[in-house]
Assembly symmetry: C2
Homo-oligomer: 395 residues x 2
């Protein structure tokens, strides 16, 4: 998926402002602006502790949306009713500044939990947007926190008769990544003309194999949010099943690309590991086993050390809660089987360790031998740098 | 609890042998020997993948036991039927060597998963035990793997009329610690005269606040085993409720001491963190919240960095599955409240960070404000050394 020269769907503007919220001398506020009202779909963290902006975005589901303000540096979570009022205030500032109706803007925040939003800094930044940086990359950079690279994905869908719609997405997030529905912050904009119910349906369908299929540290955030805005500026609606399928496919590709970019930039990560569990009795068994393996410290540290310590994978499957039997499991590293139905198979440990060391992307497959359900997840290794980044985060 | 000059209950001998299993030039096989047959109680990992020695120990519950052979260097897990036969073989060697009946010895193993037990090395080591090192500390050292200190605890129970019974326990384990019933390897020996059913009942009662209350990395092992042997050599039985209570209290203290020693020696740990969750609606809610906090990478790395990043604790409670409301929670670091019913309270971050830096033992308390159930768990921080130890474990 191309991430250079990202095309912006028609009728949208993307801006990056310097708010001075946490980091000095960098843009830390991103704006999405659409003069046409947008159909708006969203998915949010299932954490019972929800940040103020998540509450606001949930309440505005079903509204027509014109704008989104995204900030890094403060999560506006665990900030009580004041935090909620702050979120309303900054969206109101944005609405007034651009002449949009009340309640037509969204607020998305990430950063340290428990720190109040510095509303006056937003006021100053929004007072004059004429010197804002514009464009996709500027926006993507403005929303970064511990991310090392901006995360973008774009697709153009060409429909019969030469009609075109564009889908462009952005994400941020590198730690506290274990979404259970959406994750981190992601915004997807498209100029298709689509009813909100359909858009919401597609978004939920796409989640399972995109944002819900990635984990960095097993820690679900208070702020996970995915919002999709469709402004209809292409004057193109989806006319039949085939056109809907083409759009959905492109949307899912954008979602999956963004989710994978998040894992690949996981805090301190040196590797991206694909965990594929198949032959499970139920979908839930596959999910339990894959999720436990993806979050195991011992599995993740072994990959950091390029250590083919496969016993840890079998161990984790055993305690994952999934219905597994040692006598039926088969484990593959890349395509090589190293444990089969209760017995370790001989392999050249040095050779496999060298292969692991040389790879940035690693695939393991655990076949449970119990049924026909499967689950694919993506995770990272666990490195010194993960510890460093997170030990030094707020102090 | 005194760990120097550990007294050995009457009628037991403890030996340490050099088997050369993984480490050269050190004792790596420990033996517990009792000429009198012992009542034997045990608790084992609930991992669905169970090591061969765990299978053997489970099968021999209810048998009279005379001896235990404990080795480090190989877990004898994921080794198939051969692994089970190897476990039987080494217990048989032990039984024959000391003239004990068939089926009266136990095998406990830890170390790398998937490596067959080098039976011939056991044969050699057991062929001549006359040069074995003897005593409590020698035994405790022989069973260590990544442990940095031997783990022992002892209690003497003085009953009316000057009758005495002794309880002495040993444990090993520093990583792959998240037992769900017993953990790692622990052996407790006592010279009390007690029926096996009572012994098993006491053991299960004591688990909840000892081995099941500790976690280092959330990874449950294939080999977790706790065995308790009572040989009656003191010729002292427990005659009434009060005597039983006194014995039970001492047994629980030994179990809790061993469990806490395991956490304090957790791989790479620089701190031991007590997580106390109270005011939960149900016991299960308290357990879910405490367990999730104790296993969160972000909470653990923050403590390593002496970072009072309390928002992570609230976040984890939110996704733990426990019934919590931001508006009712209160969070304390040591005895200082820093978040109360939805609102962060002001505190001197530098001062608290300095206090965290100075402490080896840290207490946090999260009051959910929902009911009256509680759970106390012990965990470690997550350091560079944890990553180092586990990235380099088998290669």
């Amino acid at each position: 998926m191309e991430t250079n020269n990202i095309e912006i769907p028609q009728g949208f503007r993307l801006l990056a402002l310097e708010g001075g919220i946490k980091y000095a001398g960098r843009k830390d506020i991103g704006l999405i602006i659409s003069t046409r009202p947008c159909s708006y779909a969203g998915a949010f963290t299932t954490n019972r502790v929800q940040a103020a902006p998540v509450r606001l975005c949930r309440e505005r589901l079903g509204h027509n949306i014109h704008a989104v303000i995204v900030n890094s540096g403060s999560a506006n979570a665990c900030t009580g009713e004041e935090g909620y009022r702050d979120a309303v205030t900054i969206t109101r500032l944005l609405e007034k500044g651009f002449g949009f109706p009340k309640g037509s803007a969204l607020s998305l925040s990430t950063g340290v939990i428990g720190v109040p939003l510095p509303v006056e800094k937003f006021e100053t930044a929004l007072a004059d947007t004429s010197r804002a940086e514009t464009g996709a990359e500027a926006f993507a950079r403005a929303i970064m926190t511990t991310d090392t690279v901006p995360k973008m994905a774009a697709k153009k869908v060409v429909l019969p008769g030469g009609r075109e719609v564009r889908i462009t997405g952005f994400a941020k997030g590198a730690g506290m990544i274990s979404p259970n529905m959406a994750t981190m912050l992601a915004c997807i904009i498209t100029d298709v003309d689509i009813p909100v119910k359909k858009l919401q349906k597609y978004l939920l369908e796409g989640l399972e194999d995109s944002f819900n299929a990635v984990t960095v540290d097993g820690d679900m955030s208070t702020n996970d949010s995915l919002v999709v805005l469709a402004n209809g500026a292409s004057q193109t609606a989806l006319q039949d099943k085939e056109e809907r399928r083409a759009f959905k496919k492109a949307l899912f590709e954008v979602m999956e690309s963004l989710a994978l970019q998040v894992v690949k930039d996981g805090e301190g990560a040196t590797k991206c590991i694909e965990i594929f569990v198949d032959q499970a009795k139920t979908r839930r068994d596959a999910e339990l086993a894959a999720r436990a393996i993806a979050n195991s410290l011992l599995v993740k540290t072994a990959f950091f050390g390029n250590d083919p310590n496969w016993g840890r994978v079998i161990d984790v499957a055993g305690y994952s809660g999934a219905d597994v039997r040692e006598s039926r499991m088969e484990l593959f590293y890349h395509d090589r089987v190293i444990f089969s139905r209760g017995k370790p198979l001989p392999f050249d440990k040095k050779e496999l360790a060298a292969k692991l060391a040389a790879a940035r992307d690693i695939k393991i497959r655990l076949s449970l031998g119990e049924g026909k359900h499967s689950r694919r997840l993506y995770t990272t290794d666990l490195s010194y740098d993960y510890v460093k980044i997170n030990a030094e985060y707020t102090t």
